[in-house]
Amino acid sequence: MVPEYLQKEAEQGKKEDLGRSTVIKESLDIFRTQQHIAHENGLRTTIQMTYASLFNEEAVAIAKEDHERYGDEIGSTFLGIQCQQFREKFTSRELAIWLFSLDDKKKIVNEVLGKFHEVFGFFPTSTGSYYMDAELVNYIKEEFPMIKVAVATCWEEGPKAYWNANNSWYTLLDGGPWNPWIPSKRNIHCPASDEQDDIGIVAIPHLSRDLMAVFDGPGSYYGTHPQNILRGMVYEGDKIPYFNNLVDQYRSMVKYNQGYAYNMMFVGPGWMSKNGRWEADYDMLLKSYQDGMAYYGQLKKEGKASDVTMSEFADIFRKDRAYTRPECTLWKDILYGSRRQQFWYADPWMRFCLDMNQGGAMIDLRPYASKLIRPCGVGTPNLQDASYPFLIQSNYRAGYFTHYAGEGAVKSCKFSHGSEMVDLCTCRAQASFSEEDDTRIVTLEPVTIEFLAFSIQIQTVFRIKEGMGEVEIVRTILSSTEPSAEVTIDEYITACYGTTEYPEDLTGVRLTARGVAAEESIEYAYQCRETLIPSIQQVEAFVPQVDTLLSMHTSEDTASGYFREGFAFSPMYTLGIKKTVKEKGELRTWLKVEKAS
């Protein structure tokens, strides 16, 4: 009932008072206004009752009335737990459910859902927070099996969100899917592999975010949350076309996901403070909300969207959904006017992002196959760091461009002739998406690479066969102005591991190159060692810190493979497969991530 922003504002120049009546009254007014706007646009909502609001008779009455009259769902949330009653019971000022010890999490779950039952006479079927670790959700399912859906993460809210909030907002939660998924029992970020691994809820991200802008900027600027957009200043005067553009790009995901697309708005009353916020006065905060809801309402009237509550959505989402089914999106820039595209992919084995601005380079890779057990909160080794580790995050770990020395984390391909070499990271392209049976295909338009004496046209195709946990990558020289000239194609991945911008120790990583006739292996020791094996079958990196086996293999007879160890100023490892070809030649490799243990 008293969201943290509103409370903080009310406290300016005053001592803390969790029961300040002016704040509660304002919060209730805004809640009423939000509900009214949704309903006048013909939309139903899911009312996520905070623990604090359960002690407010008026808030409870509004929820009951709107449930009866409009069919709104009454759910529970673990946001907004702080109130006098909570403080007295738990003697803690902690506001984040995921940061309590597991013992305290259990007690809070019992108290919050118990109080909900006392007030409403039933248990909710939806809940949420900014983050809920698998351990917390497993407990909830054990004790409250009726819960079927939860807001479980905030997409790419990690170090960027922390930085954006003057290093004071502890939502370090990078690495999950951007759209709803069925989580694994082992780690909430990872989609479940099968029924045994199914945690029992459908998870939804806190907001529907801009997949390009948020990968490189604050999550709280670019999503279908009108006041977030104001915060990011993506408007002029009172015009915010960006909101509608975002909704429409989410709607366009039907093209990549067998006719299914999803979008949501989640706004707490604190974002519409009467005092104004984010350089916008109350009228503008209100108008942005009205405009957003009006667009959803218009889409509904036109038959282009259906409004469903969280629990209804969970049932729809689960219907006929294979665990192996991936989520795909070819996202295009709708903010900076660049024509840039990025392809996002998530399935139970991995999440990755391809950047067409860098010739289809892989700029993010998360090994979901490892299903790392990684609880967070007090008493756990990770405490606030709830992110799912990456092997590649090119913005955190340099990518193609480094300052004068070393390598950054990226997966790309180099073409060389004599002493000349060109990386596809320097070749911007556009891509298209298609499907063949159970294979998703990303095809890049051909790019031209110019050597001193001749030029070649290259095409890249990524193919992901459902349920295989690997990505097939085909690089083809479509044409050459000098057909007899030899060109070496070097498919490589430079990777590391971590959850933040800062390097981690690679000691213990084992690099292996396995050929038809030879095999070599080293333990990582920052010694710049490099090995090339002819007639390669597989190159691999065993990364025990994240229980992952990362590998590349090929079916080519004449390819060679290598690994390269880094050094302390370049804490990376590189795996590669290369082959020398002429015009019409190609190199076909597969990238795979597996659980190592």
């Binding site: 003057n166 600027y221 993506v234 076309p241 960006y242 429409d248």
Partner: protein
Amino acid sequence: MAQGRKGKLNYRCPRCLMREIDMDMLYDLERNEYYCLRCSFTGDEVEVLRLNAQFREKYRDRLIRITDF
């Protein structure tokens, strides 16, 4: 020197905003200026609004309704 107070609309520091840090400023009534506790920015409302407009310029599509997906 006067006590810094919360200013109109909670203006964020425009210089910190340029590097995507949301940092609320304080307002000095005597000098009629906003100031940042982090980066030493000072400026009146006109200067804040000028820099905010500059911040928006990176969003070249901010006023374009895009329907082709």
